[in-house]
Amino acid sequence: MVNAEKSPVAPAQLLAQLIVGIGGGMVLFLMAAGVSIIVSGMNIINFVQGAFFTLGALLCFTLAQILNFWWALLLGPLVVACLGVLAEFLLRPLYSKSILYQLLVTMGLAFLIIDGMDTIWGREIKVVSLPDYLNTTTPVFGIDFPVYYIFIIAVSGLIALGLWLMFEKTRLGMVFRAIVNNRPMVGCLGINVTLLFTLMFAFGVWLSGVAGVLMAPIIGIDPESSMSMLFSMMIVLVIGGLKSMKGAFFSALTVGMVNAVGSLFLPWFYALIPAALMIVVLIVKPQGLFGKREG
């Protein structure tokens, strides 16, 4: 290890870095929220979520060229959600089966979708350009802060607020919460649990599609990176609690901000930070920070 000069970090820079971390965390939340909804309501760990994320990004690439970025943001996640509905049909026979079958089928679906993306879009890296008014910066605590990241924070925040309102204040959300707590009882009350499962799955996949579209203009889109996206989502869920939406939100923000601060103070261990955080949480509270102990 070569010694490098250490310079003190100004408070304004630390604040700016935390805001950058919030931006990163909000996207993580969108990715993880989709998995969390599906795990909470359906007891399925959806290994296809990473592939759906990349599919959202690739659809953004294509739709932004044919139409524009805004249509891509609207239509891309909807197309991904429709594919999610098809995927859910395939998973239905496995709801009562061992988790191993679910993992195998969802992994298989993930590889199928990845190969499909390779075939349709090719293996080369794809890049999405933004409209000029989103492709500029504004000064925030002395740094040139990208307007697009403010947009990401705003959209993600609105979605998080919408999720909270839906789950806490609407009848549909009440039924979803009931399914999470006691699925058989909900079925006995005459509610079409199968349809709700499909809606829940589609919605979870839609969230990944939104995350993919939002991330598309700031990454090099590569179908082969789908599984590494999934691992990032899983770290957030393990820290927050697999079945907790609130946990997904706060842990995503935590991971984002810890990463941001870590890049300033622990650069040599940057790659290990999320995993280290996960290990600490697993030791201290294995069910996650907001998870409930089961059994």
């Binding site: 490098a4 000069e5 700016a16 870095q17 931006g23 910066t137 090099g220 890049s263």
Partner: protein, 409 residues
């Protein structure tokens, strides 16, 4: 009736599987007995598959040209391809398949961690392997009789970056690496040399995201907070594309010089079209914008075959294929042992001029350019608009390699 249908279906399915297999194994194909088989271990799937479109044509061009000239020793050359899936654990298995197919030499693998298992396999299977994986100096120090390298060793690349950075005033630098051996080697080389020769240049530190990381906003912001003159990037491929995308959002390329390697790799620049950041300084060994006849011929041939501009990685494989064909001509034989012996000290012509393998570390010495990204009317993608060409003196010397080899014993 049902069982008859099943039987018929099974027979048809077996026919679909077996007939192509019978035809391809040569059971009824006498032409394959007349060919000289050369293996190609490519990454058709997995994390490096994005380079396939840029790498396969570069190899096929050499084989097709040789066959168009009548082949060698009265036989046509046949390229047998296997997919290593970007996975080091299957490399030996695929190489063994290629050997089983009768391949007299093998080109590839082409990325990173697949190099070491391939090198070990070559030494125990006595089949010459010309690879563009294994850029590490350790692979040159501990090489074996059968493995030859067309990718410039990391120290040479780092030396070019070091010299290139110093062509302009420099007060400080920061390294935005990647948690892989090559990036660490590059940083250690540059940082050590700067400290030794230019102690007035401040090393502001480094950060080491995982190779699969695509979220660089924290890292870019942290780097810019230190106000470096130069940000050196250890990223390549999708990571570099993400860094470019996010870097442009943070005005990174306006606020600091950004230096890296493979930053003009057309597999990445092509996806940006006219939106690639200008002023990025990088090493390059396939400068398709250079006006030499040999390079322009290579460019035209590559475009005609693949419809894409040549990439450094594809060029490394092109050189490997040229080397294998040249070695067979020199040996006057297609026997693996003769080819391996002929590769020692082999010189041959390439699109970048005459090149040769060192006998002491099996490194192919090719010129390395230090180029700055920009645009010209002639090309629809970013090219090197200012280029400095470096020659053999950037590579570790024989004395250095032998000293390291002695020290490791």
């Amino acid at each position: 009736m049902r069982s008859k249908l099943i039987t018929v279906f099974a027979a048809v399915a077996m026919a679909f599987v077996l007939v192509p297999g019978i035809v391809s194994t040569g059971f009824c194909d006498t032409a394959s007995k007349e060919t000289i088989k050369i293996g190609f271990l490519s990454s058709l799937s997995g994390p490096f598959a994005m380079l396939t479109r840029y790498s396969s044509p570069a190899v096929h061009m050499v084989i097709d040209n040789a066959n168009a000239s009548g082949g060698l020793f009265g036989k046509q050359l046949q390229l047998i391809t296997r997919d290593d899936q970007g996975d080091p654990s299957v490399v030996a298995e695929k190489l063994t398949e290629l050997k089983g197919e009768g391949c007299i030499a093998i080109i590839g693998p082409f990325m990173g961690a697949n190099g070491r298992p391939a090198n070990q396999w070559a030494s125990t299977n006595n089949v010459p392997l010309v690879t563009c994986a294994s850029p590490s100096l350790a692979d040159r120090v501990h090489t074996n009789k059968y493995t030859f390298f067309t990718i410039p060793v990391q120290n040479a690349v780092a030396e070019v970056l070091y010299r290139g950075m110093l062509t302009r005033p420099l007060k400080s630098f920061y390294y935005l690496g990647s948690d892989i051996v090559n990036a660490h080697e590059m940083y250690d080389y540059i940082a050590d040399k700067m400290k030794k020769n230019h102690p007035e240049i401040v090393n502001l530190g480094s950060v080491w995201p995982s190779i699969s990381n695509v979220e660089f906003s924290n890292l870019i912001s942290a780097a810019l907070a230190k106000k470096p003159d130069v940000v050196i990037s250890g990223q390549a491929g999708p990571g570099w594309a993400a860094l470019c995308q996010q870097g442009m959002k943070f005005n990174l390329f306006k606020r600091a010089r950004v230096v890296g390697s493979y930053a003009l790799e057309s597999a990445v620049t092509a996806s940006f079209g006219k939106n690639y950041p200008e002023g990025v300084e990088t090493t390059d060994w396939c400068p398709f914008w250079e006006q030499s006849k040999a390079m322009q011929d290579y460019l035209k041939a590559h475009l005609a075959v693949s419809k894409v501009y040549p990439a450094d990685k594809g060029f490394e494989l092109h050189l490997a294929a040229l080397a294998v064909v040249a070695a067979m001509r020199k040996a006057g034989s297609a026997e693996p042992e003769a080819v391996a012996n002929a590769l020692e000290n082999l010189s041959f012509d390439s699109p970048v001029g005459a090149v040769h393998f060192n006998d002491y570390d099996h490194q192919l010495k090719i010129p390395i350019w230090y180029a700055t990204s920009g645009y010209s009317k002639e090309f629809p993608i970013a090219i090197g608009v200012h280029s400095i060409k470096y020659g053999d003196d950037v590579y570790p010397s024989k004395e250095e390699i032998l000293a390291l080899r002695a020290a490791s014993k």
